[in-house]
Symmetry: C2
Subunit: 113 residues, 2 copies
């Protein structure tokens, strides 16, 4: 079945999408940026850059790093970081459910895998 | 206001997004791939590649080129090409309207432009 991949563009023109959300989820699960990066198949540097962009995008940080440098003491999601994930996944779920007929029509017209 | 940017991933894992849709709209308006590319700020080669991907993605072509080579005789949207645009814009509009509360909440938490 065809699926929607969403990015959200804020007024400031910065965008947050599936990659950043998945990284936030992995930081929550793994407790460190390096473990999240490894699981997602990204370099630490790339993961750090994506998460730093998310932290700068909003008034409240999404990720808090503990002492020992950016990853030395681990990293955890803030309450606001959890809120971003929840809102993104809610948007994804609402959008996917309510456009299912249109998505099915496009899939029916598509060449197979 | 925050806005949604959508890509649709088909079962075959190919994706169609805003850039391709905008190019289809511009081919319809301008009647040639080169004029569409110029208006969208893309090279002809890049625009051709994007549109060729769309043509291969579905059982029916979205763009028909007239004699004189790929762009020598101009290009036009097929009925199916128009259908793709209509379905994408319908998905965008439904998804944006029905997730407006979540989008507003994210925008309210964002740093300004």
């Amino acid at each position: 079945m065809a699926r929607l991949i969403l990015r959200i563009e804020l007024d400031s023109k910065v965008r947050i999408g599936e990659d950043a959300i998945r990284l936030l989820e992995l930081v929550e699960a793994k407790g460190s940026i390096s473990a999240a990066a490894r699981t997602h198949g990204l370099t630490f540097r790339r993961a750090w850059t994506v998460l730093d962009e998310v932290n700068r995008m909003f008034k409240t940080p999404a990720i808090a790093t503990q002492c020992g440098g950016i990853d030395g003491g681990g990293a955890r999601l803030t309450d606001f970081g959890r809120e971003i994930i929840d809102r993104y996944r809610a948007i994804e779920s609402i959008a996917t459910c309510l456009t299912a007929d249109e998505l099915s029509a496009l899939e029916a017209a598509a060449n197979g895998p």
